[in-house]
Symmetry: C2
Subunit: 320 residues, 2 copies
């Protein structure tokens, strides 16, 4: 998948209105959007800010959107994500919460060449400091796609750095990051916990080891840390198949995230890619919360929402 450009069929006849980029650490996703944020075309390139092609940011921008820009020179371009960080193309300083699409639009920063508008990230200051970049735009999109969430909602965005976000009146009130995905990737690849699975080959998809990990951490009031080494010792004592041990680790880590973050009395809503959200659904069910609402990744909708607020949407026009 990665390294390949993914092209969707172009919707002929609809007029393009905006070029929108979701530009993270590892991936660069581009969208050509028509009226109401309709996705006319999209691609994904492996040019995240940590693996840019020769020529750097301008070259990556040209690879993902150069043909669109030449074909529709009147269109504006907007981006969200790590491209606005200190390691990005231009720094878009964090906005403090509470914040929402209107404040994000007011905080747009342009690249030195003026070609791309970058949405700022969001910072929570105080004794529980936290930061996000890119998720604020996905949230804007989710709230646009599902307006019932605007008044009050609790969003869970599973991923490398999962975010748990409180929404009131359409704005981000506060949030907490859990490094669940990165912990899993790092421990699997670089610690002794990944070794049995690496030697054992592919995971049995019918294994119940994920659920077993969730159950183990739910039953341990001290949390996941005293349980981590059991990923190894259960294999050594013959109680866990080596091929299932990373599923068990995944259950421990996702279970710990839910154990720590869950508060009684509020049903969270899941936002993100469906495969990972399904895994969280399974774990939430073990904590007594079944069939949570799910919203697909709202990056394109959020980019559209902020660009509209900032007046960047092009006028309707006929194609050349």
């Amino acid at each position: 998948m990665s390294g390949e450009s993914q092209q969707t069929a172009m919707h002929h006849g609809a007029a393009p209105r905006l070029i929108a980029l979701d530009w993270g650490t590892t991936m660069l996703r581009g969208f050509l959007l028509g009226e109401d944020g309709l996705v006319l075309d999209s691609r994904a390139l492996p040019f995240g800010i940590m693996r840019l092609p020769e020529g750097g940011f301008p070259a990556a921008f040209d690879r993902v959107a150069g043909d669109w820009r030449r074909q529709f020179p009147q269109l504006r371009a907007i981006a969200a994500g790590m491209v606005g960080s200190a390691q990005g193309w231009v720094q878009a300083p964090y906005q403090s919460c509470p914040t929402g699409p209107d404040e994000l639009a007011a905080g747009l920063v342009r690249t030195p060449d003026g070609t791309l508008h970058i949405i700022p990230g969001v910072m929570q200051s105080g004794s529980a400091p936290d930061v996000m970049r890119g998720e604020e735009t996905q949230i804007a999109g989710a709230l646009a796609l599902m307006p019932a969430l605007q008044r009050s909602a609790w969003l869970v965005m599973p991923g490398t750095h999962s975010k748990w976000v409180r929404i009131e009146h359409g704005r981000i009130q506060g949030f907490t990051t859990y490094m669940t995905g990165e912990l899993f990737a790092t421990l699997s690849a670089h610690s002794i916990l990944g070794r049995p699975a690496a030697e054992a080959g592919p995971t049995d998809p019918a294994s119940d080891s994920f659920a077993r990990g969730v159950a183990a951490v739910r039953a341990e009031p001290r949390g996941v840390v005293p349980l981590l080494f059991t990923v190894r010792s259960l294999v050594l004592t013959g109680q866990l198949a080596a091929a299932a041990s990373l599923d068990y680790l995944s259950g421990l880590l996702i279970g710990e995230e839910i154990r720590c973050a869950l508060q009684s009395g509020t049903r969270p809503v899941l936002i993100g890619e469906s495969a990972l959200c399904e895994r969280y659904q399974q774990a939430f069910a073990q904590f007594g919360l079944s069939s949570l609402d799910m919203v697909a990744n709202g990056a394109a909708a959020g980019l559209w929402r902020v660009a509209a607020q900032a007046g960047l949407i092009g006028k309707e026009m006929t194609r050349p």
Copy 2:
């Protein structure tokens, strides 16, 4: 340091009685022991079982002890550690706890060439399975060096895989492993948490960031997981110097180990290298336990203790 042979001055006049090896994953330590386990000579070579020289285990054994074996051909040789694991020279099956020096001596396994006796590891079975290899021998040594611990003690052995061990009547009753050292190494080297420190250069030794990490996890009833990302966000929000961020992470992780493992009413005893034990002392003090007893790494004493029980100590003899 690593890669260098460390030679102590040979105690001339004392008669060698045993060759003893502490053979772990990364390091191979050799001791030439005289009467009562007196260390006559020692070396450390970087030939742990995961980085053997050409020629494998026999070649590593010859590099660490070949001259001793040629000079004193009547001496027996004993080893403890990962050399007895499934990836070692020969597998010395785990002994179940409760177990102590007598059972370990009865469970010695010889290498195929008969030249080396290997001490088994220890397994805790049941719903909280756990394993150790090498620590059982350090424990035997600590109990020999500090007989007051034999009746009843609670030992903390800080390290890559810290062990908390309950002792009754000179035997290991049960234990729990915390992957504290490996978590720190893995997150520092391979996760986003290590990046600010890597760019900032050496840590300020006067920083109080370690104590700050301990205090943070002590004040968080849910434990370390919701705090991990603050290693990054505190730096991004200007509340923590990048150069101090790994000290803060170390405090979080050691603090979490103590938070999870500590039980009221019992004073633990620290066993191990003094620099790491001092760091644990500092963290224990923040949990209200000051000036815990400390015992130096007892590997040589433990190898001597088990070898004596197995009848492997050579007779007194004059040197050639």
